[in-house]
Symmetry: C2
């Protein structure tokens, strides 16, 4: 490959992900669905024009680190506290149900025995199904102007918590991936990681707060913030054996309640993300995925996994909401609002593949499930939310009129 060929590759990825993204939004789908599709079309499943290179791999790794950093920065701790217990219960049940469902599906399809590796592989599929995508939920609810109000707030809070639960599960699993490590070491490392994060967190938080007082929001704030995120990502992997993205996410959390700094860094990182890194990350998923591998057995697995992904979220989250005294209809709405999976699911899948705990053959099934839940959520949400209007028109709750 000539030294400047990579410029053309980047241009192709940018043009195709954005064009497919815009097309997605024209049919009221999140743009990320389009970006995923673009990757599948460019990759070996279809045209095969773009191949994995070291540069694309590293850029794509930076892309997911930046995404998780932004997710951390966007965490609204105050809002989280307000929705409180309800969101927590919804999130926890909404994680447990899909975790068990995904595990069961994997074991039913692929397990011959219950040895450690097989169980870990099953758990990984379960973890893939746990995390609701905050961005897609927020985007969908914003488009419907339903983000405020009880249902929206509970969904938002629960989505944030289950993101954290998903990431923490991933960290624990990452700790287990080194087969030579003993459980004692793993827990020590994970414990050490959290202690380290708290100590470093307070110190760095203090430094950035002082910096905001001293210089306000200048470029250096964003640059130092990004460098800090990269260093935490590196340290997580190097010294604690924990996914780099976990470090990036914590870097965001550490800075997330320094009002101006957080907003400034998030804004600048977002520009970098959408201009180059996110398209390469999302397209990269498709570029790595070969849907030719989807024989009838994996296709069936994908279908079962999709049904499990949708039903366990609705049941788990709905039950959680109901237990906290929310009406059945609103509980259903919350459940439906939690169905969409995206970045985190794909990230967990990617990490699973890197650790050898998700077979490359299973990957297309996961991508399909993610795309389908992402397609379903806005459609289902508009259906269950619509009745809200009739409720307002008919105060006696006579449903299905008009």
């Amino acid at each position: 490959m000539e030294s400047y060929e990579f410029l053309l590759i980047i241009a192709i990825i940018l043009l195709s992900t954005k064009t497919f993204g815009v097309l997605s939004s024209h049919v009221h789908m999140p743009q990320v669905v389009g970006a995923l599709m673009a990757g599948i079309i460019l990759g070996p499943s279809c045209l095969g024009v773009v191949k994995e290179t070291d540069f694309l791999l590293k850029t794509s790794e930076l892309g997911v680190i930046i995404l998780m950093f932004i997710a951390g920065l966007d965490t609204d701790i105050k809002e989280l506290k307000e929705t409180g217990l309800t969101s927590l219960v919804v999130a926890v049940l909404g994680v447990i149900f899909p975790l068990i469902g995904g595990f069961a599906a994997y074991m039913a399809f692929f397990a011959d025995s219950f040895d450690k590796i097989t169980v870990l592989k099953g758990v990984f599929i379960g973890v893939v199904l746990t995390a609701t995508s905050v961005s897609i939920t927020v985007e969908t609810l914003m488009e419907m102007k339903k983000l405020n109000g009880k249902v929206g707030t509970v969904i938002l809070g629960a989505a944030i918590i289950d993101d954290i639960l998903g990431i923490v599960s991933l960290s624990f699993l990452s700790g287990f991936t080194d087969v030579n490590a003993n459980p004692y070491m793993i827990f020590t490392k994970i414990g050490g990681f959290f202690v380290f994060m708290v100590v470093v967190g307070f110190a760095i938080h203090y430094i950035f707060r002082k910096m905001e007082d001293a210089v306000g929001t200048k470029r250096r704030v964003a640059i130092y913030g990004f460098a800090f995120c990269l260093i935490l990502s590196y340290i997580s992997e190097k010294f604690f054996g924990i996914a780099d993205i976990t470090g990036a996410y914590f870097a965001g959390i550490i800075l997330c309640n320094i009002a101006k700094t957080r907003q400034y860094i998030a804004k600048k990182m977002t520009v970098s993300a959408y201009l180059l890194f996110s398209p390469i990350f999302f397209a990269g998923i498709g570029i790595k995925t070969d849907l030719h591998g989807l024989n009838s057995r994996f296709m069936l697995f994908a279908l079962v996994l999709l049904i499990i992904a949708v039903t366990t979220k609705i049941l788990g989250c709905g039950l959680g909401a109901k237990l906290c005294g929310i009406s059945t209809l609103d509980s259903l709405r919350i459940g439906v609002g939690m169905v969409s999976r995206c970045e985190v699911a794909l990230i967990v899948a990617e990490k699973g593949m890197q650790a050898g705990l998700i077979d490359r053959a299973v990957s297309p099934a996961i991508v399909l499930v993610v795309i389908m839940t992402t397609l379903f959520t806005p459609v289902m949400l508009s259906f269950v939310m619509k009745e809200n209007e009739s409720e307002k028109v008919t105060p006696n709750n006579i449903k299905y009129t008009n």
Copy 2:
């Protein structure tokens, strides 16, 4: 190198370039001086902690492409027309003098004969000295609040023109670097390049103008703009043998008078540039430079080159201004304002090394010259501009009072 080691490398580059940049600005120097110094310290000249990798090379190439794209976008064609003839004469003489001076210095020091390659090498050193850095000039004049007014406007116009002249010279030289190519082919290719740029330019300009009418400024405008820049960069290299950065610069020029689009794209690209790509590009120059190679002969060459770089710009530009009827003092000011070299000089040097027409041994001398002119300009400018104030106080032009 472990797969996540590059995260730490990026963090080190970001932290050091920004810290040194901030220190530079504390002593009233442009931040880019600090970034260059950081690279020298990280590289083999000093600590040797950062080594060139394929990822850094490609990121740095993207960095210079983005810089030149922004420079193209920032070109104010209207302003250029207003300063008109004066700027043009200042720019042309300010290019010819250093070109001859640099060529003469190289031949005096290193030439045994006048064969094609040796002459080309000499011309390359001359071209390195031609282009004033717009960004440093503008930054310095803005800090002094002297950007408006005749002196400032002429400097700005001339700096833009000599940037273009520098880039065009580079393109012509790039065409000559392939020793097997015949002159006829080179001129055909360069001619074809300009025809292609005009045709594609009008088409793309039309499309972006229509897009602005249709959607205003959305993310897709910046993404498509960036993709267009990458494609032009690629086509320049691939089909015309002209430097990719020339393509990037023309991509910027093509979009530079679509008011909102230009501003929007430039803003977004600037964020990406300073958050990652520019630091890696500027530090990369230092990382590639081994100042240990500066033996007494090269040190002497650097000193001579520095003297030539400063005096030829002041003489050439000053003479140009004087020929257009500007007062001697103002002509001197214009000359001094044109001394600073930076990005374009380093870019030309980099391209020269890639083409084998600048010896790696000469590179440290060039970096030294760039750093020194960049250090000199603000200091000298503040000295010659200061008298402006006394002029205002003493209308009879009695100088050196107070």
